[in-house]
Amino acid sequence: MTTVFTPGAPHALRIGFIPLADAAALIVAVDKGFTRAQGLDVELVREISWSNVRDRLNIGQFDAAHLLAPVAVASSLGLGHVRVPILAPFSLGLNGNAITVTTALYRALAAEADGDIADPRVSAAALFRVVAARKARHQDPLTFGMTFPYSTHNYQLRFWMASAGVDPDEDIRLVVLPPPYMVESIANGHVDAFCVGAPWNSVAVDLGIAHILHFVSEILERAAEKVLAVRSDWASRHPDVLAGLLRAHAAAAAYVEDLENREEVCRILSAPNRLGVAPEVIGRTLDGRLKVAPTGELRASERYLLVGRNGAARPDPVQAAWLYAQMVRWGQAPMSAELLAAAQAVFRPDLYDGVLGAAPGRAAGEPADGIGAFAGPPFDPTDLAGHLSPWRIKRAR
C-alpha cells in the first residue's frame, strides 16, 4: 500500500526500539519534537527482544526500528531467518558496550595480568591463562553472556578473546541473555562475564558484584552498534518521509551531543516508557565516565559511545564489511564477493548525504581504516581473505 506524503498533514509512523542508551537519537528526535517539525507523527514502541524488533520491522508492523547493525546485515542476507532487504541510512551509535566480569573473575585475571589489565592485549592473554588453568583443574568452562547471535557484542567478545588464543566456541560457553537478565545472571553465578550496552554494566558495578573490564572502544575504536533501519521497499516508496526522518535524527543527534542539553536528554531518556532507569546512570554513559569497580574507581573515554560525533551518524559501508567478515569468520555466513557487496549495500551513506549534505572527510583522530582494531593488520574491505588469514581461531566455512 503506497501512501503519499503530503506536506502539512502529519505522516503517522510506528518505530520500534529496545530500552538502551544508544536509542538516544531516536527517542530525543520524537520526544523533543524534531520529528513533529518534519511533519511526522511518530509512535515509539518499546520492545522486549531483538527477534521481535526484527520480525515486526520485516512484516511491516514497524516502519523503522532501532536495530542491531549486524541484524540489518543478516536480515538482508537471509542469514538464520527470512531474507528481507533492510537499509541503514543513519547510524544511531558507534561503540557503547562494555565487558563486565564478576569480582572473582576480575581477581583471577588481575593475578595473571602481565601489565596493565586495561590493555586488551594484557587482559586477553590473562584470560587465556585463566582458561588454561581451569582446563587443567577440569573445571567447567567460563560462561560469557551477550545479547544476540548477530550482535556487535558477540563479535567484539570473540575478536578480543580469540586474539590471545581463547576459542570462543571451544574454551568458553558463549550464551545469549536478554539484557534485563544480565545483572541477575551475574549475581546468581549463571555467567562469569557479559558484554552488553548501557545501563546494565553500571547496574552490576553499582551492586558491588562486578567490574567493568573493558569499554568495547578499547577493542575496536569504531564499531557500528545500532542503526536506524527501514525496509528497502519502504524506503523507495517513501523517500520524503525518510528524508524527514533523517533530518529529525541529525538534529536530535546534535542535540544529544551538545553538553548544554545533557541533563534534559537524560531526563527524557529516563522516562518509564523509554529507558526507565535513573538519569544519573544514563549521564555516565553519555559522558563516557563510568564507575568500573565497586570501590568507585572511574574510567573515562571520549569514545565510549559516539552519537553523531566524529562522523558517527553517517553509515560507513566499511563497518558493514567488517561485520560481514565476522559472520564469515565465525561460520554464520559463507564467504562470497556477492554477499560482501550485499552487506555493504545495507549501509547507505548516499541516502544520508543526499538529505544532510555531503559529509566532511574522516574526522581528525579517527582510525585510518575506519575500524581501529587493537590487534591484527588494518582492515581492508576489499581483502576479507587477508583479514581472516592471520587468525588461527575461526569457523569460516
Binding site: 522486549i48 531483538w50 512484516i59 538464520g80 531467518h81 527470512v82 547471535p149
Partner: protein, 197 residues
C-alpha cells in the same frame, strides 16, 4: 497423524491462563506430548532435556533471543531449530506475530505435520487476546459505572436533586462540553476529593 512418532511440543509462556488454554487446545487436536514452561531459568538445559520438535513462545518473553541462538549452537540442542525459514511461510509469520506468538520448528520436519499446531496456537492466542480485551472493557465499564454513581450521589447531596435529575445534569453537561458522561463524572469526583482532602 500416521504411524510417525508423536511430535514433542514445548510451550514457553509466562501467562498461566494462556498456557492452559493452549495446552487444552493442543490436546483436543490430538497432540499429547506437551511440556509447559512458565519461567525461563536454565532454558537451554531444559530444552535439551525435553528435546522438542516444536517450541512455542509468547512474544512478550525476552528469552526469544535465547532461542534464536540455537541456529548457531547446534551442539547444545541436538538438532538445529528454525522458525519459518521458508519464504512461503511469510503469511503464517504475520498471523503469528499479530496474535503475539512465535514458533520454532526442528529442521527437516514435514510442513504439513506442524501446520495444525501453528494454526491451533495462533487461534488460541487470538482467542486469549479477545478474552483479555473483553475483560479490560468490562472492568473499565464497571469502574465507569461506579464513578457515575458517586458523581450522582455528590450532586444529589449538594444540589438537592433526585437521582434522575442528577443523571440528567451529568448527561447534559457532557453533551454541551462534547465529552463522555464518565469523564464528566470523573472530573466531578476528583474535584470533590481535592476539596475534601
Amino acid at each position: 497423524m500416521t504411524a510417525e512418532a508423536p511430535l514433542k511440543i514445548l510451550v514457553i509462556d509466562e501467562n498461566p491462563i494462556r498456557r492452559a488454554i493452549l495446552d487444552a487446545g493442543l490436546r483436543d487436536a490430538g497432540f499429547s506430548n506437551i511440556t509447559l514452561l512458565g519461567d525461563t531459568l536454565g532454558l537451554l538445559e531444559r530444552i535439551y532435556a525435553v528435546d522438542p520438535d516444536v517450541i512455542i513462545i509468547d512474544l512478550q518473553n525476552p528469552s526469544r533471543d535465547v532461542l534464536e541462538q540455537m541456529f548457531q549452537v547446534s551442539r547444545i540442542v541436538r538438532r538445529p531449530i528454525a522458525m519459518f525459514v521458508d519464504q512461503s511461510d511469510r503469511a503464517t509469520i504475520e498471523k503469528a506475530i499479530d496474535a503475539g506468538v512465535s514458533a520454532y520448528i526442528v529442521d527437516g520436519l514435514k510442513r504439513e505435520r506442524v501446520r495444525a499446531i501453528l494454526d491451533m496456537t495462533i487461534s488460541r492466542f487470538g482467542a486469549f487476546e479477545r478474552l483479555r480485551a473483553e475483560l479490560e472493557e468490562t472492568k473499565s465499564a464497571l469502574k465507569e459505572r461506579k464513578v457515575i454513581e458517586r458523581a450522582k450521589g455528590i450532586l444529589m447531596k449538594n444540589r438537592g436533586l433526585d437521582e434522575e435529575a442528577a443523571y440528567h445534569l451529568l448527561r447534559r453537561t457532557a453533551m454541551s462540553k462534547g465529552k463522555r458522561i464518565g469523564d464528566i463524572a470523573e472530573s466531578l469526583v476528583s474535584a470533590i476529593d481535592l476539596l475534601e482532602s
